[in-house]
Symmetry: C2
């Protein structure tokens, strides 16, 4: 499928029909999302996959009762990792393991440490949450490429999600991406004209 | 081209060969990027396209002398719009013009106003900057789909960019996306394994 068709066919699905997406399809979507870009390749994100109906019911109340949560097949809870020191240390280990050239490794790790030190705790979280959007954008298109509908959602109670899913304190639920098959039809896409995008 | 190939072929190009990307190709890339998703469809972003060599030279010094700035064909300066009241008012006008159903319009505008009111000035900027990442992710893939290389860049002096490009105070340069044809070759992609992505 042409990339343009992917972009135009993707839409924020409000109702799913409850059918299960095959596990291998979800794995393929997640595997593609792994290759999203991130600043300095820091990949400051993790995903919790929720499929159990009882857990979705618990999360529904923490999601303004938006029915995507319970009607989807797989609910991807995309989390920002705000522990930038750990994020940088992990990248350094990975570069060592991959036998990356020493000067490149030192340069990247040095810039990453500089970034981490320049940010307040709040700034670090905002930064990591911005990076999660890069992951989500790839996820949405990867799902569409596999014939799976999705809906990016930011309206939910992140603290309640952390509690219900027993997530580590370093991870902050940032975006939800329910996956499934649509039980609605898309409205026409409303976007500003190109001359309004440009400045 | 398959979406997987797009994702795997895209890389952060560090050196461009200076050849110009045809204007109609850049327009097609920008036109695709328009359809990036955003929360409540608020599209809180604008892009300045820089092609003049003298202006690129001026920006180089505000970009840690990273040579993508001057060797690229088109430099896209992706800006966050931090004036959320204006962003919400613009969406409301667009929904009226598009004759969107009244209950949907009221619901969307109500949620958008709630969002804008819930955020501090700093929070509004961080939010809009997060949304810009969704635009950038689409831009990078749209470029690749058109055979054009790119490089997402966040390391630059945003205030200097605003000054040099005489941008309105509401717009904050957030990500640079130089476009062109590569004069380097990609390193192997280093990404964490799927079980490290999941939590």
């Amino acid at each position: 499928m042409e990339f343009r068709d992917l972009v135009m066919q993707r839409y924020a699905t409000k109702r799913f029909d409850g059918r299960a997406v095959p596990e291998e399809t979800v794995q393929a979507i997640l595997d593609l999302a792994r290759f999203a870009p991130s600043a300095l390749n820091l990949q400051p994100w993790r995903i919790r996959v929720v499929t159990a109906p009882a857990q979705k019911e618990q999360l529904l109340g923490a999601s303004w009762n938006q029915r995507q949560i319970t009607s989807c097949s797989h609910l991807l809870v995309c989390c920002a990792n705000r522990d930038l020191d750990a994020v940088v240390a992990r990248l350094e280990r990975a570069l060592v393991e991959a036998a990356a050239p020493e000067p490149m490794r030192q340069a990247v790790v040095g810039m990453a440490q500089g970034l981490a030190q320049s940010l307040s705790a709040e700034g670090a979280l905002a930064w990591a949450q911005g990076q999660v959007q890069l992951l989500v954008a790839n996820l949405l298109l990867a799902a569409q490429a596999h014939g799976v509908a999705s809906c990016p959602m930011s309206g939910f109670d992140a603290a309640a999600y952390s509690r219900i899913l027993e997530l580590p304190a370093s991870l902050v639920p940032t975006m939800l991406v329910p996956l499934g098959y649509p039980a609605d039809t898309p409205a026409p896409k409303l976007r500003y004209a190109l001359d309004e995008l440009l400045v």
